[in-house]
Symmetry: C2
Subunit: 397 residues, 2 copies
């Protein structure tokens, strides 16, 4: 179709489609580079045999329903509900929407909540894959920083109070309280309670991204924000991507029924597929998912330990690295005067890559920090990758 | 979460989300009713064994890519491209977007093209599942009727000319030229050529819904509209739902690259899943899909013939029923003075149901016609269902 003309066609676009948002870029093959960049799941841990068994079972027992038109399989909704209730979140079936990954919910939320100019509070650093959607919808982003215990609630309260004085009510606060991406931090219970109270007091929704909550390495995390709220001020966004397989694209939102209905109405393609929702439910049944999560905890914990041990051996002691108690990431803060962008340039010459902190802030901060992922790199490469960054430190030093 | 309050939460909704669109309703179990209503695929024809083999192959050979984050599998894009090219449509990879069913594309099109008040031309009758999305986006719908040869192109030309005189340029024309839903009609080549010419002349996009084009019973249909246009005025919407399985939710758009990029940017959840796109591609490979389509043609042709033979035996001769040359549907036009709604009420008393014509018009027409689907009903029930409608005719008589 190289002869396609676009001159007059382009007059037909709706206002919202006149400009084209940049497309997602997928990583190229990086040759011999050791990549500590991607927050992907460890492919060698995928439960492929059990997923195949689940497919066999669905196609043997339920093909007529699984392969025809139909709604999201109610059994998967119920599985998610039961799991949320076991974690303390008082969900019912109409509080849950099954989605194509949590990223779909994060993209739908601004459809439901954001008119251009509306305020959204985000963490600094944060997961920009979500924040990008808020910005595209025209949200005015205000960053509140994260410290070693997650979102700084004192700073949040000051921000909310200042906004209220000016008559401004933010639409929502986007937070990752449990094994934060990128900082790895865990918000303690006291902060969680204060956050839930502030949400109610200021009438602001909290969007709790719980992508990593199941992947704790020592102790289970404190109650989810969604378990501390009983009046609908928290929407939890969850996913099977970290605990099962990202490639299946299966996640959920849990929240106030009225919000869930609206998210569903903007989910234009309808249900998340009778086949896929049955396949995931069948996999999860009979305790398979919980046994798999236990295996993942052990495997990712071992990788974290490998990475922290190598850092202790190989890096200058004035690089601040907190021990993440779960999740996929180690966040490193540089001593005064060192630039993560400059370190990355040097590190790539040494054959290793990571993501500089500037990629995780909506407000331009972040050149004093960087993110390492221990989830996707083969364990045998972790020590070598960390040593190469150590060499880059010495070259810059 | 029964204690959830919605009073103050509801203040947070964006303007576009203040009112809630009604949700899709899925059919309830209908007891002993013979349903000729649903345009579902025949579940007993699903190629479950081959789908399972495809899953085995993907998980055995490609699990690391299929189950992790990643783009739509390029092999599936190429498969669709090759198939379109074999049908005469000069597609390249960047002309194709893989979607969660064609319904997703039909829902995304108004995002890209419709500002409130924009004109969209639709057929009467038509597939309201698509038109509903155009209306929700604020389109002003103008209906041009279908006759025994599909969209009435003379009437379309008159409509376009009248609109142009008033300075109004429609955004697109939504048409199902091949084995139309609900009328079963096939637009002949001469009309297709005129439609493509009119699109270019008036600068109006044509959205060609090709859901049924592969399911011909006698001869292959004339070239698709997308094969007659070389300047980007046609977007073809296609689906694996009728030729493979609706429950997989897999379809595509093919059109001008600039339009495809915009559709992709409004497909908020990103790719259509590394796993599902690989599974469908693997199923399609090695000629499996084409052999299956040949089987479907024979099976649906036999059902059509059963239905038409029963109609000839059981119904009054003044009911107008054209012989569909493909697809899923028989469209019946009633003699003067008979109401499809009244007939349906009587038919349900006789234990059979169908969809009255009023469900297929955006402008209130249709009580003089109704749609029968022969795709989903077990073949053994077709003659009985038709006979029950015949009894309803006699009761109304």
């Amino acid at each position: 179709m190289s002869a396609f003309s676009t001159s007059a066609l382009s007059d037909l676009y709706a206002t919202r489609a006149k400009t084209l948002a940049s497309a997602q870029i997928w990583p190229e093959h990086e040759g011999d580079l050791i990549s500590l960049a991607y927050g992907f799941a460890a492919p060698e841990l995928f439960p492929t045999d059990d997923l195949l068994s689940a497919t066999v079972e669905v196609l043997a027992e339920d093909a007529a329903e699984a392969l025809n038109y139909g709604p999201t399989y109610p059994g998967l909704v119920q599985f998610v509900v039961d799991r949320l209730r076991a974690q303390g979140t008082p969900a019912e079936a109409d509080n849950v929407l099954i989605s194509y990954g949590s990223s779909q919910v994060l993209a739908l939320l601004p459809q439901v909540f954001i008119d251009p100019g509306d305020v959204v509070i985000v963490e600094g650093p944060t997961f920009m894959g979500a924040v990008r959607h808020f910005a595209l919808a025209g949200a005015r982003l205000i960053t509140v920083n994260v410290d070693d215990e997650g979102l700084d609630i004192d700073a949040l309260e000051t921000t909310l109070r200042d906004l209220a004085k000016r008559g401004q009510r933010p639409k929502f606060i986007y937070t990752i309280p449990t094994f934060h991406n990128p900082s790895g931090t865990l918000m303690p219970l006291e902060r969680r309670c204060r956050l839930a109270t502030l949400a109610k007091e200021y009438g602001v929704l909290v969007v709790e991204d719980d992508a990593y909550g199941d992947l704790y390495f020592e102790n289970p995390p404190p109650p989810r924000l969604s378990a501390l709220d009983h009046e609908g001020w928290v929407v939890q966004v969850g996913t099977f991507s970290k605990i099962l397989a990202p490639g299946l694209r299966m996640g959920w939102a849990c929240g106030n029924r009225d919000i869930i209905q609206r998210l569903a109405s903007f989910k234009l393609e309808g249900s998340s597929g009778p086949f896929l929702t049955r396949m995931v439910e069948r996999y999860c049944a009979d305790g398979r998912l919980e046994r798999h999560i236990a295996d993942l905890r052990a495997a990712y914990r071992a990788r974290r330990d490998l990475m922290l041990a190598a850092i202790a051996r190989e890096w200058p002691p004035d690089v601040h690295v907190a021990k993440p108690e779960g999740g996929f990431f180690v966040w490193a803060r540089l001593p005064q005067g060192l630039s993560a962008t400059a370190l990355l340039a040097e590190a790539e010459k040494h054959g290793v890559t990571f993501v500089p902190g500037t990629h995780f802030y909506a407000d331009g901060q972040g050149d004093d920090a960087f993110r390492l992922s221990f989830s996707f790199v083969p364990p045998a490469h972790i020590a070598d990758g960390i040593a190469r960054i150590g060499a880059a430190f010495r070259t810059l030093g």
